[in-house]
Structures are given as C-alpha cells and as structure tokens.
Amino acid sequence: MTINPDQPLKFSPLHRLQWEEAQQKFVILYPEGMVELNLSSAEILKLCDGAHNLGQIVSELEQKFAASGLTNDITAFLDIALKNGWIQQP
C-alpha cells in the first residue's frame, strides 16, 4: 500500500483529528486509542481533506513554511498514515 500521487487524500471517517488543549498537541483518536502528533504531521493531515493530492500538499506546505525539498518527508509520513488507516484514497 503506497500513496498514489494522482489521487486526492482524505482523512479517514473512522478516526478523529483533534487539538488537545491539555496536551498542547494534535491527536488522532480512534476506538480505544490515541496517537499524539507533532506539529508538522498535523499540518500534513489537515490537508488530507479530499481535495488535495500529494503534489498539492507538498507545494502548499513548502509555501506555508517557506521551505523546499519536503517531498520525501511528506511522502514517508503519508505512507505511514495510509498503512495505519488514518487516511484514505478513493
């Protein structure tokens, strides 16, 4: 299972992405479990909204953080997210 760069990415309806005030962190919530996210992972997941594909996520984040060469890191994280079922592709 790897990311198809042409298709949009969507956050899984069976999980919830949420800001936790007490932890000062974004977390993914799912049945009886929770994953704590660092800021960059949360930024990537927020763009998995069913409208952006891989390239669009990369360019949007590179612009936002005035950085370049983020493709590999973002792809690696999205692969993990897909394997864990946090995101989906049609």
Partner: protein, 375 residues
C-alpha cells in the same frame, strides 16, 4: 500511605464510566465485582455530567461507557451528547443486548464515536450458554447495524477453554460482520473469572494453537482489520504493566460513584477509595490516598524493589498480587522472579487436571442471586 510524595503526577487520559452493574447477561468471566449486588446505588445524570466535565478539564480524552450493560441507563444518549460537547472520544462498550436501530441512530446523532460489541462464541448454542441468555442472533444483527450506520466497530470476544477451539470460526465471523477491530481478550482471572478459573483456563497447547491461528489471520487481514490481542498472563513469565502505572493514565468510576485507579481495585484492603459524590475529580486524582497508594515505586518490596525491569511493568498487577498471594505489595505472581510464582504453576496444573478429567463442577454465572450468595 505507601505512595511517594515528590512524584510528578500526570493527568488522566482515559475515563472509564461504569454506568451501571445491571446487565441482562450472565457471563461467568464478568469483570464486575463478585459482590456487585452490594452496590445497587447509581449516580444521577447530573453527577455523571459533572464527572465528565471535571475529568475532561484535567485532560481525559478517551471515554468508555461501560457497565454492566450501559444500554440499561435511560440517560445514555444525554451523557453521550454532554461528552461530545466536551470533546471526548466516546466508546460504548456493550453486549448489544437491548440495542435497536433507532438507538444506534440516536446515539450517533448525540455524538457517539465508536461501538464495541461483545460476542461470546461463534455458534448460537455456545454464545447463549456462556451469556446465560439467548442473544446470539440479536448480537449479530446489532453488529451489522453498527456498521450500516458508519461507526467504527470493535468486536470483542473473550477467550477461554469453552470457546478457544472456535478460533477459526470466530475470526471468520469477525470478517463477515465487518469488524474494523477484533479484540481477542484472553480471560483475565479476577472476580467471577477467578472463581471459575479451573473451568475457563485453556491448556497451554490450546492457547498456543489458537494464538498461531490468530497470528496468521492478523497477517492476512492487515490493512483491513486490526487485532487487539490481550495475552493470557498466566502463560507469560513477566506480568502486564498494569494500568500503564497506577494513577498515571486510567480513572474508573464505578456505578455507585466510587473512583478506582483500576476497575478491580475495590478488592484491595485499606485503600479507602474516594467517591465522586464527596469530592472533585481533581482532588481525587491528585490528593486521595487510593490514587497515591501505588504511584511510583516507593511501595515496592523485593524482588521488585531492586529489579532493573521495574519501570517496564511496575511490579505487575496489585489486584492479582493480592488475589493470589494475599499481599498487595508483593510482586505479581505471574513474574518468574516472584517467590509466589508456584501459585501460577499450581493454577495451571489444576485447570489442566479439570480439563482432562472432564470436571463436572458447574460454571458459576454472574447474576444477582449468585452475587448475593457470594457477597
């Protein structure tokens, strides 16, 4: 007080709300106290709302509505709605008994995130025998409805000697029902299960065979279904890290409002567990004797005190140490370094003997009559 005073206290993350001890089923491994009939009083809706609000404010985010059977509470949807408003992730832990499609829809609208349905076996005959109530067909229907309405679903099957041979069929059933997660919970021997241990504990061979089947299945369904496997700790040589460390993560509130660091902790003597009717969650968590009792490791005796693994398992389960050895400060007898480890070997031998001789002793089912007799 045994707990250490200068310890950094982490806030609760998990709130287990045991709404009621009432349950139409009678599972002989039920995790409710054997003497549950002594605690018939239940918190009011307003009390529960306050508990949810206070625990959320401290940082609790995962919320389990359990019991007994939480569906017997008329205010369940109201509590779910309150929880959603606070930002909890709400899990409903149900036998499915008494669930209807309208209720599933109503709870979804109220903001329920997940439903865990338990099934006792893969056949009607065995399910209905273990549950003590005809419920198999209804449970399967409920599982289908849970998926139909878009919930993530955990299917929970408690594993013991009566159903362990059904492992392949249980796995097939989970697939057929569309479970997103399958919890294969090897029986933990507390309370009712402890009383029935000779009849419930599988032999080592049975357990190893079942585990291999489950493992192969796990690989087959990777990406589609996740397996939560609760190990049978009697066949391990290190104990489980009970509750992730006492008073670090989990807060259980019993139906009568008693706040417990672990849902078994009522059995431990001298803990004086506090009641949410008398104080706030914050005071209970930070200041009460019970929640500080086994925090940190100052309370430990040998062999745990000088053990280099004590940060991994915290000496194991306090309730199991007490239940088996009579000493709640002792190492969990599951540990091979424990001087009481022979108790585990003896329990295994006794259950094995019972399995091989086709023990005629009946299972003791969890119901009010038995509870009153045993209390």
């Amino acid at each position: 007080m045994a707990g250490s005073n200068n310890l950094k206290i982490t806030p609760p993350r998990w709130l287990l709300a045991e709404l009621t001890y009432a349950c139409p089923l009678q599972c002989p491994y039920c995790s409710n106290p054997v003497d549950y009939s002594n605690y018939p009083s239940e918190l009011s809706t307003e009390d529960w709302k306050r508990v949810l609000s206070e625990a959320r404010k401290m940082g609790a985010v995962q919320l389990g509505f359990s019991g007994g059977e939480p569906l017997t509470r008329k205010d369940l949807a109201e509590l779910v709605r309150h929880a959603r408003g606070l930002g909890y992730y709400s899990n409903l832990i149900t036998s499915g008994y008494g669930m209807t499609e309208e209720k599933i829809v109503e709870l979804k609208e109220a903001g329920l995130d997940h439903i865990q349905v338990s099934i006792q076996a893969s056949t009607q005959e065995l399910n209905d025998h273990i549950a003590g109530t005809a419920s198999f067909e209804h449970k399967k229907k409920v599982a289908h409805l849970v998926k139909k309405h878009g919930y993530p679903m955990v299917l929970c099957v408690v594993i013991h000697r009566e159903n362990i041979h059904q492992m392949p069929e249980i796995l097939a059933m989970a697939e057929e029902l569309g479970a997103d997660y399958l919890e294969l919970a090897n029986t933990q021997y507390y309370g009712w299960a402890h009383m029935n241990r000779d009849l419930l504990m599988p032999t080592k061979e049975q357990f190893e065979q079942a585990e291999a089947i489950a493992q192969a299945f796990k690989e087959k369904v990777a990406g589609k279904m996740k397996i939560y496997y609760v190990v049978p700790d009697y066949y391990e040589n290190r104990p489980k890290a009970c509750m992730n460390g006492w008073g670090t993560t989990f807060l259980t509130i019993a139906p009568d409002g008693m706040a417990l660091p672990c849902h078994e902790a009522r059995v431990l003597p001298g803990l004086d567990c506090p009641n949410v009717r008398d104080s706030s969650i914050e005071r209970i968590w930070n200041e009460s004797k019970a929640f500080n009792f086994f925090r940190g490791d100052d309370w430990m005796k040998e062999p745990c005190r000088s053990c280099d693994e004590k940060h991994k398992d915290h000496g194991g389960c306090r309730c199991q140490a007490y239940l088996l050895s009579g000493d709640m400060y002792a190492a969990d007898p599951v540990c091979s370094k424990s001087p009481d480890h022979h108790l585990i070997d003896e329990a295994i031998a006794s259950a094995r003997n019972s399995a091989l001789t086709a023990d005629e002793k009946p299972l003791i089912f969890r119901n009010s009559k038995n509870s009153r007799q045993l209390a």
